[in-house]
Assembly symmetry: C2
Homo-oligomer: 150 residues x 2
DNA sequence: TATTGTTATACTCTATAACTATA
DNA sequence: TATAGTTATAGAGTATAACAATA
């Protein structure tokens, strides 16, 4: 059936995002990575010795949730925690992490290529500016309100 | 810090979508609705007597997950299940559901307005076509691959 | 006093398998 | 034989509170 919500930007944004995420995860599956893993590896590569909390702030991941997230990648020897002072942990890629990231970057590039290919050529220059504007224009969000049984 | 992933369409898509969703949920909180609730109510309003499974297919929600989802809205007397045959359930809005949906539509309209307002005017006509292209061009997705402990 | 990393915990969302009844 | 609705269950993602150690 025709989707009656297809004229809502918010709805399309969610559907497009979900589809793209699912596709990227499928592409990354052979590397046993998920999109969030690659985001963190790319961030650490771009900002060596960034602290765990800082990385969480950039990627919008709670401090508490960074622990097991980073821990899993550390167990796989993809990144390392190094004490920055006696409180903060600096994150850095291992050799193995760098090599896997190099492969992941190719997957991401192919995925980006596929995304761009879906957009009519005349509209392509508008893709990044529009998405950036939609994101950056957003009000900093309070946390998710609980569902209450009404 | 400057986000080194900000030139990736997939990343921007996810961040923009998350920000928009969080904002919409915050706007809907006074009505004790979440974005998915409104999507279902709007769908049922546009396609009266759509079956529970059909609605799930349109919204990309598993049959199994529709049960408690619809159940919760039914408990709140926002929609009703009516037997279509002895197997399928037709969904229809109650009067209360229609009234609440009318209010929700205003919230959604304000939210859509806010989204559009974030985009430079010259790019606005490209917003819906780009998002629709990114979504509709996506390959139908197999389900999410499991994370394996590597 | 504020921040970092951490543990514990809980809720939402989503996925799969299996079952019954029905088309 | 395929589909609708359902139950049960599990996993991923994400939220909060609280704590100790440190800046």
């Amino acid at each position: 059936m025709h989707d009656p919500l297809a004229n809502l930007a918010g709805y399309l944004l969610r559907r497009a995002s979900n589809a793209a995420l699912a596709e990227l995860n499928a592409r990354l599956a052979p590397l046993e990575l998920r999109h969030a893993d690659v985001a963190l590896l790319m961030l650490v590569a771009a900002a060596p010795a960034i602290s765990q909390s800082q990385a969480g702030r950039v990627l919008d991941i709670q401090r508490a949730n960074m622990v097991s997230f980073v821990g899993r990648l550390e167990e796989r020897s993809l990144l390392r925690r190094r004490p920055l002072d006696r409180r903060s942990q600096a994150l850095e890629l291992t050799g193995r992490g760098r090599r896997l990231l190099a492969r992941a970057r190719q997957v991401v590039a192919a995925h980006e290529q596929a995304l761009r290919g879906r957009v009519p050529e005349s509209l392509r220059p508008a893709v990044l500016p529009i998405l950036a504007a939609l994101w950056q224009g957003a009000a900093p969000q309070r946390r998710r309100p609980r569902r209450s049984a009404a």
